[in-house]
């Protein structure tokens, strides 16, 4: 096949652009996958066959009377009315954190029943409940 000079140049130009764009898209996609933090409810975790080792978010209600302060950390239970998971956190609990209210913890699972949180998210006001939590809570209450 014989290509004219201008076609060749154009072809080369487009293949370079194509390569660059593909590399960039791959770069973005790869980063997105690496930095996604999945959200789980206690029940989701129970149903998993493999315990996730990377950073996840765990959300639910903080069980009444479950909060205990140790020397340098807090331990409390996050529940979705059906399943419970112990959460350990050594940091400051945010103002809006309270027993009987919703909370989202970010961190890693030590085992299926024990979660070590690196941060507690509570950027919400009194009426606000993160959507994920209200979904799971409602689901479980309906199943009862």
């Amino acid at each position: 096949m014989i290509l004219s000079k201008s076609t060749k140049i154009r072809l080369r130009f487009f293949s370079i652009i194509f390569t660059i764009v593909s590399i960039i898209i791959f770069f973005v996609y790869d980063n997105l996958q690496k930095n996604i933090v999945y959200f789980y409810s206690p029940e989701d975790l129970k149903n998993l066959s493999v315990t996730p080792t990377n950073k996840i978010r765990l959300g639910g209600l903080v069980k009444q009377n479950s909060l205990k302060a140790n020397a340098n950390s807090y331990v409390f239970i996050i529940t979705d009315f059906k399943n419970e998971i112990f959460v350990e956190y050594n940091g400051l609990l945010p103002n809006l954190f309270a027993e009987g209210k919703s909370a989202v913890a970010e961190g890693v699972l030590r085992d299926k029943k024990y979660f070590v949180a690196s941060s507690i998210l509570a950027k919400h006001d009194e009426n606000y409940m993160p959507r994920e939590i209200s979904n799971t809570l409602k689901k479980n209450e309906l199943k009862k």
């Binding site: 009426n127 959507r131 209200s134 979904n135 809570l137 409602k138 689901k139 209450e141 309906l142 009862k144």
Partner: protein, 172 residues
């Protein structure tokens, strides 16, 4: 590319985006109201509207043969629309209605009932809107129909002529 094709592609993309986002908006409403239907009423405890020290729990619903639960608030405009229907259900059809006063101030609610009449045989208070979540409610107004503690029907939003007829039919 032809202009026509471009516009068709644009239209198709818009529709796809619409469907995706529509689904996203509706994700939080996956739990359709009828999922609660045909379930026993969950355990709930409410403060009594007229007496702060006494409580209302799910047993008063289970004991009755046929009862309506109506979630309402004095600040809720649609509640006003359905109010005459509730009154007629109580007076004309002698149906027992239990109210749940949702995120409301007691004095406001008292005034509301004084002005428009009280269709409720008893009223429980859900000041923080936490108990109604357990009923699977989205907000106000909402109405549940219970037969011996079993939820047989649920309606979101103000009730109207049709719903009243439906309720009367269910009672038979």
């Amino acid at each position: 590319m032809n202009q026509k094709y471009k516009i068709v592609i644009l239209g198709a993309t818009t529709v796809i985006i619409f469907i995706l986002f529509l689904k996203a908006i509706n994700t939080d409403k996956v739990y359709q109201p009828n999922q609660m239907v045909n379930k026993k009423i969950p355990e709930i405890i409410l403060e009594d509207f007229n007496n702060k020290n006494s409580k209302i729990d799910q047993n008063i619903f289970s004991q009755k043969d046929f009862v309506l639960i109506n979630i309402w608030a004095s600040w809720c405009v649609p509640c006003l629309i359905e109010h005459p229907f509730l009154m007629s259900l109580k007076n004309k059809n002698k149906i027992d209605i239990i109210g749940i006063n949702y995120k409301d101030e007691n004095t406001n609610a008292q005034n509301f009932l004084k002005k428009y009449g009280n269709p409720y045989s008893r009223i429980g208070v859900d000041k923080k809107g936490e108990v109604t979540i357990q009923l699977g409610a989205y907000g106000v107004p909402e109405t549940y129909v219970l037969k011996k503690g079993l939820i047989i029907f649920k309606h979101i939003g103000p009730i109207n002529e049709d719903i009243v007829n439906k309720i009367l039919e269910l009672k038979k």
